[in-house]
């Protein structure tokens, strides 16, 4: 606001060198040779190879298959091979030009059907789908295949970290990141550091959206390796081109549905197959696939469900975390399936949604009975009520249409995730009369610091000016778990509120305790939640947030351009701790989804992204953005602070299927894929 906030690249570090990652230029093969031009004076720079890695050459996450620096085998374009650092940018660029890497290329795999390696497979079963398909009688069977594309998170601040060698062999990293302890664990492993030797500090962070969940571990390891070898601080700040070309994207995929329905609209069976493209390394793909599979049936109750999901390896840069985490992909297909079935039966899709939607007491595909805060009807009614009057276009070349979607999104980690994680926080009363919140949950624009301060201040009965949030520094704050999965307000916020109440009770005791007083809290999952990781049966999430989204589009029949003019969303987040920020987060997520559904297309060529610059990768501007209206519907959840559920990811789920339905309403054609680029719209209209 004033320019005083310090983001990573704003930090002035005297004596720091500039770092750079040298990357592969082929999608698959082996490094045959690396040549350092003898004409260049190599004594003025530092070069790090895999041999300089003191610990394990892995970016620690789920599978540990991704090397920090590739040795021999290349699995994707832009794969890190070497690191260089120099005192100034000119020398750095000259050093980079003086390195030549030669390869023995191998045939890359990009086609999901030809992939030979599977990262994970999930099967969810309810009822007897096979039996239904054996005895089809007096029913309609509707089959469709849906495709979803890559998407870049496009936080406006690119990835970056600065590493500092510390006395005693330690390394400190300050960076743009969502999950300090992910980076901490990855640093310890690759650099063979103890808990104390590795220190990770979050700088002000200019957006994340999942893109700064796992990738910052790579940036941090690289910066740390350079700093260690150079014996001085090293800045490793990506420019936009490198960020777009090399970092993780939303998983693209193919989703096939077969739905069996009686002619009266009764839903009989859903048979769903999901294939996601994980890219060249595993990253968080199995967890993304898990959320995709669990949400795949949509917010509907069906007696017979089979969801078979798998994620495969290809030779593109690895895909990873992105707001929604697989759910936008599978819900896109589920919501459009409602439209297709309605069309087959000749009934309004809204009627089918009302007939099928999960209500209090109903059971999801994983067999979870929904016992509270089920808001399908509430959000549907609220959105319909808030929608602006709809009118058809009176310009022949422009057609207008309206579409609707109903989605739900699980809050917090899947199944027993929160139990295994046991997120920790602390709240302290300090001698000066102020209070301090200690948490590793990060502020990345979504309002963490504000709502945490609100929750603590409320519990302590003090003004918000008496509460500070300690810096997200692993040497100072406990591991609250990652800032992901729509869990920060509900899980971590809940802990802070409880700790505040406990601290207040202690301070009110007589005689007064000596300050500082600190209350530590660790998340304990309610014992009413049961989940089986093997069978995928049980309570997939403690609770779900709900949204109904209505969009109006204009389709230019001459250019194929789709413009989303109005977007109304009724959202149940249990309780909006800070309504203005909740609305802001929802509106931003909705626009990100509009981008995914319309203009954000990544064109692939030889395993690389062709439009890897901001001049060619387009995101919505203020001119492209629809008029957005958010209606907050509050249906409290007993396990969240003041009833709050998660809100971060939900807005990503609803707009895309509503936009495709609106395009159909306008033009009469079904696209069944995103993004709905002008080329695709024109082709679909022409082939009709």
């Amino acid at each position: 606001m004033t320019g005083r906030a310090r983001y990573t690249d704003d930090l002035v570090v005297p004596g720091a060198w500039y770092g750079k990652t040298v990357r592969s230029s082929i999608p698959r093969g082996r490094v045959r040779s690396i040549t350092f031009d003898p004409a260049f004076d190599w004594s003025q720079v530092v070069v790090v190879t895999a041999q300089d890695i003191p610990g394990d050459n892995v970016v620690h996450l789920i599978r540990d298959d991704q090397p920090a620096l590739a040795v021999g085998e290349i699995r994707h374009r832009e794969e890190p091979i070497l690191l260089i650092a120099a005192p100034d940018r000119e020398t750095l660029a000259a050093a980079e030009r003086a390195i030549r890497i030669e390869y023995d290329a191998l045939e890359p795999v990009f086609d999901l059907d030809r992939a030979t390696e599977t990262y994970s497979e999930i099967e969810i079963r309810k009822g007897e789908v096979e039996e239904v398909f054996k005895g089809l009688k007096d029913v309609e069977v509707v089959e469709r295949t849906f495709k979803v594309g890559l998407q870049e998170q496009l936080y406006i601040e690119p990835q970056g970290a600065i590493a500092f060698p510390e006395p005693g062999g330690g390394i400190k990293v300050i960076g743009s990141l969502q999950c300090p302890y992910y980076v901490h664990r990855a640093l310890k492993r690759a650099l063979a550091l103890t808990d104390e030797q590795a220190v990770v500090i979050q700088a002000e962070t200019g957006g994340g959206f999942g893109g700064k969940e796992e990738y910052p571990s790579i940036v941090a390891i690289h910066a740390a390796l350079l700093a260690r070898k150079a014996g001085r601080p090293v800045r490793l700040i990506y420019d936009r081109h490198e960020d777009l070309a090399a970092t993780t994207k939303r998983h693209p995929g193919v989703i096939r549905h077969r739905t069996v329905v009686r002619r009266d609209g009764t839903l009989v069976a859903q048979d769903i197959e999901i294939v996601l493209d994980g890219g060249a390394y595993c990253t968080l793909t199995p967890v993304v696939l898990s959320r995709a599979a669990i949400h795949a049936a949509g917010p509907y109750g069906c007696p017979n469900v089979r969801i078979r999901a798998r994620a495969v390896a290809t030779n593109t840069p690895p895909n990873g975390a992105f707001r929604g985490f697989g759910a936008p992909q599978s819900l896109f297909a589920a919501e459009l399936m409602v439209e297709h079935v309605a069309e087959r039966l000749g009934v309004p899709s809204l009627d089918l949604r009302r007939k099928w939607m999960l209500r209090l007491g109903d059971t999801t595909a994983t067999g979870q009975q929904l016992t509270e805060s089920v808001s399908s009807g509430l959000v549907l009614d609220a959105a319909l009520k808030a929608a602006p009057p709809f009118h058809r276009s009176n310009v022949p070349s422009v057609r207008r249409g309206r579409g609707l979607s109903l989605v739900y999104h699980g809050s917090g980690f899947t199944g027993s995730g929160e139990k295994k994680l046991g997120g920790k926080i602390a709240v302290e009363a300090l001698p000066d009369g102020t209070f301090r919140i200690l948490t590793a949950s990060t502020e990345i624009g979504q309002g963490t610091k504000t709502i945490f301060s609100q929750l603590a201040a409320d519990a302590l009965g003090v003004g918000m000016d008496k509460v500070v949030v300690a810096p997200q520094d692993t040497s100072l704050v406990p591991d609250s778990g990652p800032t992901v999965a729509s869990r920060t307000a509900m899980i971590v916020g809940g802990l802070i509120h409880q700790a505040g109440l406990e601290l207040r009770a202690r301070l009110e005791k007589r005689p007064k305790p000596a300050l500082p007083v600190r209350v530590d809290k660790s998340y304990v999952q309610p014992d009413t939640i049961h989940w089986d990781d093997q069978t995928y049966r049980g309570d997939a999430y403690p609770v779900y947030a709900w949204a109904c989204t209505i969009v109006d589009v204009e389709v230019d029949m001459l250019t194929g351009e789709v413009r989303v003019t109005d977007l109304v969303s009724a959202v149940d987040c249990g309780k909006a701790i800070h309504p203005v920020m909740a609305e802001g987060q929802i509106e931003g997520g909705m626009l990100q989804a509009v981008g995914w559904a319309t203009i954000e297309e990544i064109k692939m060529k030889d395993g690389g992204y062709q439009n890897d610059r901001l001049a060619t990768y387009l995101i919505p501007t203020a001119l492209d953005a629809p008029r957005i209206k958010t209606v907050l519907v509050e249906n409290p959840y007993s396990g969240g602070p003041f009833g709050a559920k998660g809100i971060g990811e939900l807005p990503m789920d609803g707009p895309a299927p509503a936009i495709i339905a609106a395009i159909h309403d306008a033009t009469g054609v079904w696209l069944d894929e995103v993004p709905a680029t002008p080329e695709k719209v024109l082709a679909a209209c022409a082939s009709r």
């Binding site: 936080y155 406006i156 609305e583 901001l614």
Partner: protein
């Protein structure tokens, strides 16, 4: 070279071919101006040169010789308090991660100066060169509209 930065004269010895963005950030440590793309697409590096919004990543430092440059650091009132526009951004929740905010404020400041009665559509046009990925622009547009005179 000499120019006016946020009301004060600065003189420094730098290559005139360097990007204004780098001279501001690295030589003068005025870091409110951000780099989002380096090719004039995102507007995070917006500054005012003689009152006009420009992307400082596309301006050679030599081009501002003798001219008046304003960055986000120059927007607050003389007593250090937030300007009405900054205050409106705070109240409307127009800043989330904050990285686009400096550029957005300068673009909004200029469009209101040029058109104090701007409509919502005028505001959208005026801010179209500044990308925001957090807000969906709604709160930003509301904040700017609230500052019309």
């Amino acid at each position: 070279m000499r120019f006016t930065l946020n009301g004060s004269t600065v003189s420094l010895d730098v290559a005139g071919t360097r990007r204004l963005l780098d001279v501001l950030r690295e030589d003068l440590h005025v870091t409110g101006t951000k780099e989002g793309c380096g090719e004039g697409e995102c507007g995070a590096c917006s500054v005012l040169i003689d009152g006009e919004v420009v992307n400082s990543c596309l301006v050679a430092a030599g081009q501002v010789e003798g001219r008046e440059v304003v960055t986000v650091e120059g927007l607050a009132l003389p007593d250090g308090k937030l300007s009405p526009l900054q205050q409106a951004f705070v109240e409307h929740g127009a800043a989330q991660c904050g990285i686009c905010t400096p550029g957005m404020l300068l673009a909004a400041h200029t469009l209101l100066k040029e058109n104090p009665k701007a409509s919502a559509d005028d505001v959208r046009v005026g801010l179209a060169g500044n990308l925001c990925r957090c807000t969906g622009y709604t709160k930003i547009i509301d904040a700017v509209l609230a500052c019309r005179t």
